[in-house]
């Protein structure tokens, strides 16, 4: 079981991962995360995001370097159910004959005996987890009968039920409605308050400044890592994405004092990122929060 009193951290030091065919997926990768953070893992497809996840989950052994969780080897973290993984929707077989309740209960397997017979405590935790993501009323549905956002929330509930204090989310906003996106972000902020470490792999650039306090930019290695405001700059993003990003500059000359209101829009076909003149990322806002953005740029 995870012990709330032990300080939590992920330390990736000088990690190099090579596949058997000789391709080097990650080279000399170093970064660290500490208790109470939501960190975005940003990079193009094939930049090594999922490799990094696999290393942290202990599925891949680095050819060089070390990964330590809470100061201990990954294997031990696994045994203590410390790391929870929320898969991409495409990885899941939605025709599988399991209900929402069944899936969330799978989060408890690690703390059950080998027959996996749920105790009352397991049931209570599953109920609470479903409640927390607002999916209680769907608990008896077969998982294929859910909307995109609901599907995502089921797997979040499973991670909650697992009580993992480190959560890895793989593209959590793909195919998700705005309401779910807001709900997920709110939940992640709560978990951050509780001292969890949350690592979110995403190429949804626009939402990163909204809910991530840290960013790790990857392209076959860590290009930069640190607080969002310092790392999420035009220069760094250009390094991470090369020519992949769409680039637009807007000059609001119809506004008084216009030159100061120039904004830059960066997008890789998902939600765009807006950069103000000072180069600092703007909160582009989810749904109803879009209002303040316009005011921001006039300040």
């Amino acid at each position: 079981m995870s012990d709330a009193s032990t300080p939590l951290s992920i330390e990736v030091t000088d990690v190099t991962v090579a596949y058997t065919n000789g391709n080097v997926a990650l080279r000399d990768t170093t970064f660290s995360l500490h208790s109470g953070t939501v960190c975005a893992l940003v990079g193009v497809n094939g930049s090594g995001k999922s490799t990094l996840f696999k290393v942290i989950m202990g599925f891949l052994k680095p050819a060089k370097g070390t990964v330590r969780i809470g100061g201990r080897p990954v294997k031990e973290a696994q045994k203590r159910n410390l790391v929870a993984y929320v898969p991409q929707s495409e990885e899941v077989d939605w025709t599988f004959p399991v209900s929402v309740w069944d899936v969330v209960m799978m989060g408890r397997y690690g703390s059950m005996n080998f027959l996996r017979i749920p105790r009352e405590e397991d049931r209570r935790i599953v109920r609470e987890s479903l409640e927390r993501v607002g999916m209680s009323e769907y608990k008896d549905r077969q998982i294929g009968e859910l909307s995109g956002g609901q599907k995502k929330r089921v797997f979040l509930a499973r991670a909650l039920a697992q009580r993992g204090r480190i959560m890895l989310l793989d593209e959590p906003f793909t195919g998700v409605d705005v309401k779910t996106e807001t709900a997920i972000i709110d939940l992640l902020e709560e978990l951050r308050e509780d001292g969890h470490i949350i690592l979110v792999s995403t190429h949804n650039l626009g939402s990163v400044p909204e809910f991530c306090d840290r960013v790790v930019l990857v392209n076959r290695t860590v290009l930069a890592s640190g607080p969002t405001a310092q790392i999420f700059t035009e220069e760094n993003l250009a390094k991470a994405f090369g020519g992949v990003l769409r680039h637009f500059k807007f000059d609001h000359t119809d506004l008084p004092g216009s030159a100061r209101n120039e904004v830059l829009l960066l997008s890789d076909d998902e939600r765009p990122l807006l950069l103000g003149q000072d180069g600092a990322p703007k909160r582009s806002g989810v749904g109803t929060k879009t209002g303040p953005l316009v005011e921001d740029s006039r300040k």
Binding site: T20, M57, G58, F59, Q78, K79, N81, V83, A84, Y85, P87, E91, V92, D93, T95, F96, P97, V98, S99, D102, M106, G107, Y109, G110, F114, L115, R116, Q142, R158, Q162, G164
Partner: protein
Amino acid sequence: MHWLEPFRYSFMVDAMLIGALVGTVCAVLSCYLVLKGWSLMGDAISHAVLPGVVGAYLLGLPLAVGAFVTGLFCATATGWVKANTRIKEDTVMGIIFTGLFALGLVMFTKVQTDVHLNHILFGNILGIERSSKIQTLVAAVLTLGVVLTLRKDLLLYCFDPTHARTIGLNTQALYYVLLALLAGTIVAALQAVGILLVVAMLITPGCIAHLLTDRFDRMLVVAALSSVVSCVTGVYISFFLNAAPGACMVLVQALIFALAFVFAPRHGLLASRRVKG
């Protein structure tokens, strides 16, 4: 002929009982194979056991041991070749299992045995010897016991191996357990339906159940029921048609599948037509 006629012969009654037992084991395993997408694996291993069976006969070992060894060899060799070539997995598997099957046929013709080749290929449920009956029984009960004990872990492994691994389940071990169960089931079913048709017993009941239900525990029950019904009626019908019982069993299963495919209340052809309206 009177419709109760088959029940007057003890070999017919025995055949129905063995059919029901074998059918249950195959059905339970078929649920996992269908969900895991291992149908071709079932086909491959069922063919690949032939050289093992002949080899075991030569060495005086239980046939199950030989079958298990070559079945496992087929699966691991496939994995190894795939990892070291550009050729796709299903293709590699096709080459390896047909190769092993051919090897088995050659070995068989070179070895003097008192087992009829037809009995291995098509089964011999009406004339199973006492020793073979015991072997079938042991293989069936063992396999069923292990599957039911590990059913939740195996289900999680099929559904989400990544999650299984992050919470510390030994997925590598589960892979081999599932392979071993597959080999054990094939051995149990060998006498009943033979190598060529055992794959039907290993996938059809699971498919039928997947069309009829949305919960795994119910899927196990539905698969087992459909399998027992088709095994018993298959043996029964074969008496009147004077046809191979194994083939009749598989034929009944295919008919049930066809019915489920069209009429399943939620996932059948008619139901989905209605929804699209």
